[in-house]
């Protein structure tokens, strides 16, 4: 039991990070209807920005803010030059998939060009200490991840529910034509959404990098976990991303421990989850039912 609880808590800590990446994916899906396969690479890139600033001697928190700002710019730029011109994702899925895959390659290659192929080490944001609760040891880093996720969710809630900008972003996500007709500059808001998503991804990267080592393939597995989280939660639900993140984190931690066939592939439960949800409940737990277009 203690063993189980231990593993579960580790999973929930990981889940918080998947949820962070998921939040970014949801923001992009809601505003542009697009599954951004390059989200993980963008997060990796901005995590390298954090690392660079930190290794130049900046305090970690400042480096993270810098990385988020850098990520924001990358996200906004990517939307302007690559995503917006290609058109509606649901009318031209192939073109959009190819563009995000092009981004995947491009951002990954750019990171290799700038930072090389060696893994860098990054210190855990909340140190290497741990605390014992009911006889179960929990790393501060995991607790920190949950807290940071909580803060991010709160900020998102305030933004979307209590600011004019957030209201406008919701209007754009719901009906961009209507939004444009009340005077909302839709392209600029979409750009903002992409920037925001990339900035959020930075934080996810900062939490993962100390575990995996900061390399250019940092986020390739994590991205699938993030997608599993939002598939379960519903592609357009921020709450869903959080709940989905925790569930995926827990499953991916617990199942490989007890089911030997998953031993070397914690990704497998996440994959089965994606498949099962898309087959039997495509809108996920909290998402809106998709209207199929004929």
């Amino acid at each position: 039991m203690k063993d189980f609880l231990q593993i579960l808590l580790v999973g929930i800590g990981d889940g918080a990070v998947y949820a962070m990446l998921g939040l970014g994916l949801v923001v992009i899906y809601r505003s542009t209807g697009l599954l951004n396969f390059a989200q993980g690479e963008m997060a990796m890139f901005s995590t390298f920005i954090v690392w660079t600033m930190w290794s130049l001697g900046l305090p970690m928190w400042l480096a993270i803010l810098g990385g988020m700002a850098g990520g924001f710019c990358v996200g906004a730029l990517v939307h302007q030059v690559a995503v917006r011109p290609v058109g509606d994702p649901h009318e031209k899925p192939l073109a959009v998939v190819i563009v995000t895959i092009g981004l995947f390659l491009g951002v990954n290659g750019a990171a290799q060009l700038i930072w090389g192929t060696l893994d860098r080490s990054m210190p855990p944001l909340f140190g290497r200490g741990q605390v014992t609760v009911f006889g179960v040891a929990v790393a501060w880093q995991k607790i920190g991840a949950v807290i940071v996720l909580g803060v991010m969710v709160l900020l998102f809630y305030l933004l979307f529910q209590h600011t004019k900008l957030g209201l406008a972003m919701r209007a754009v996500a719901s009906n961009s034509e209507s939004a444009s007709l009340v005077g909302i500059p839709v392209p600029r808001l979409l750009m903002l959404g992409w920037g925001l998503a990339a900035a959020v991804g930075t934080v996810a990267g900062v939490f993962i990098a100390p575990n995996l080592g900061l390399g250019t393939n940092l986020m390739q597995l994590t991205l699938i976990f993030g997608f599993a989280a939002i598939t379960l939660g519903g592609f357009d639900s921020l709450v869903g991303a959080v709940v989905g993140g925790f569930v995926v984190g827990a499953l991916s931690s617990v199942m490989p421990r007890y089911i030997t066939i998953f031993e070397k592939m914690p990704l497998a439960p996440a994959f089965i989850l994606i498949l099962a949800v898309l087959l039997f409940r495509p809108e996920g737990l909290f998402g809106k039912k998709q209207v199929t277009r004929v």
Binding site: A95, I98, V99, F104, G109, K264
Partner: protein
């Protein structure tokens, strides 16, 4: 696109036109026949790899280009073909090309299996599922290391007569023809298989079955109501596409002689997709052109660059893909057809010049293509 254009040309078919149509193919085959004698052995080996990629891309094109189902996971099917071949030869002593046939069958079954959920999962979401498959595949290989050799790799061996006794030795494709080096022999065998597969694909697409593929892609509801069994078409297409990709993988295994999970990551899936899109989705020859493009790019051009900036190859490919989607979504073949259509429209500009150009695209790719001519 091609249909409207060729239909226009076939109205006044003359011997001259026929010669014009056949001549490029004759030239192409002559070049293909000379090539292995003109290049050093390591190049010929590379050409063999390009052909396996072209075959896989041909399979993906049936699925994505003609049937509109997006797969970002064909690297995994390629890998299943490769490992099936390796295991059958090493563990069960199956003859080399017998293993290729068996791999095609296994991959057909695997494709059907993946195709089942694809009946309900479409577009971006299917891309997501197949992306997950591609990411999962190398991990699967490591999980089942007892039969795949895991990250240590799988050495493909077969019993061979060596110094008077039968021994397990690494497989080799040996030339039975005097005057042909082993690599040249392999080249021609692969070329033969590649050409047959492309011709069979072409015939399939031109047949009634092929038209139903395209009909399902363009409008499922309309296809259904005109009596096309949409579900069957989609599943069988997935199976066929997988089988073809599996043949590519099988040849890859025969070519390499050893297999490692790191060869079958998401990156391989992306390169197969790159070959399809760059060459031109929904054109028969497009994937072959795309594979050659990719081969030239990564085996020739990139090798000329200084080591330090070699990662730039990913950047260049990425930027190229995006530019392609924005400027010429029909790929190389699509761009060529547009030019051709413009040219012939100008030539016959006296009456209804725009007809061939603006007609609804019949064979254009589902999402990316039609804008080329619009």
């Amino acid at each position: 696109m091609s249909n409207t254009v060729t239909a226009g040309a076939s109205v006044h078919r003359s011997p001259g036109d026929w010669a014009l149509k056949v001549a490029p193919w004759v030239v192409l085959f002559v070049i293909l026949a000379i090539v292995p004698f003109q290049f050093p052995s390591f190049r010929v080996e590379q050409f063999c790899f390009w052909m396996t990629l072209a075959i896989a891309a041909c399979g993906l094109n049936l699925l994505t280009g003609y049937n509109g189902q997006i797969s970002v996971g064909h690297g995994a099917l390629f890998g299943i073909g490769a490992y099936t071949t390796g295991i059958l030869i090493t563990e069960f002593g199956v003859p080399l090309f017998g293993a290729t046939v068996a791999s095609a069958v296994v991959c057909f079954a695997a494709g059907i299996l993946i195709g089942l959920p694809a009946l309900r999962i479409k577009g971006l979401y299917l891309a997501l599922v197949t992306l997950a498959v591609a990411t999962l595949f190398p991990l699967l290989l490591e999980q089942f290391s007892a039969i795949t050799g895991g990250s240590g790799g799988l050495q493909i061996t077969s019993p061979q007569l060596y110094r008077g006794e039968m021994r397990e030795r690494p497989i080799r494709l040996e030339s039975p023809v005097a005057g042909l080096e082993n690599d040249q022999w392999k080249y021609f065998v692969f070329l033969g298989i590649t050409v047959v597969i492309f011709i069979l694909s072409r015939n399939l697409i031109k047949s009634r079955v092929g038209r139903s593929l395209v009909a399902v892609r363009d409008n499922e509801v309309a296809a259904e109501s005109s009596g096309i069994p949409v579900s069957q078409v989609k599943i069988v297409t997935f199976g066929l596409s997988a089988a073809i990709a599996g043949i590519g993988g099988s040849l890859f295994a025969l070519d390499q002689g050893q297999l490692y999970p790191s060869s079958f990551t998401i990156v391989l899936s992306i390169y197969i997709l790159v070959a399809v899109v760059v060459g031109g989705a929904a054109s028969i020859i497009g994937p072959a052109i795309g594979a050659v493009f990719y081969g030239l790019f990564s085996d020739v051009i990139v090798q000329q660059m200084p080591d330090r900036i070699q990662p730039a190859r990913a950047v260049i490919l990425g930027v190229l893909l995006i530019l392609l989607m924005l400027l010429a979504p029909g790929g190389i073949v699509g761009g060529f057809r547009t030019l051709q259509a413009k040219w012939s429209a100008r030539r016959s500009s006296t009456h209804s010049s725009g007809l061939a150009v603006t007609g609804p695209s019949v064979t254009g790719p589902p999402a990316a293509g039609p804008e080329v001519t619009a």
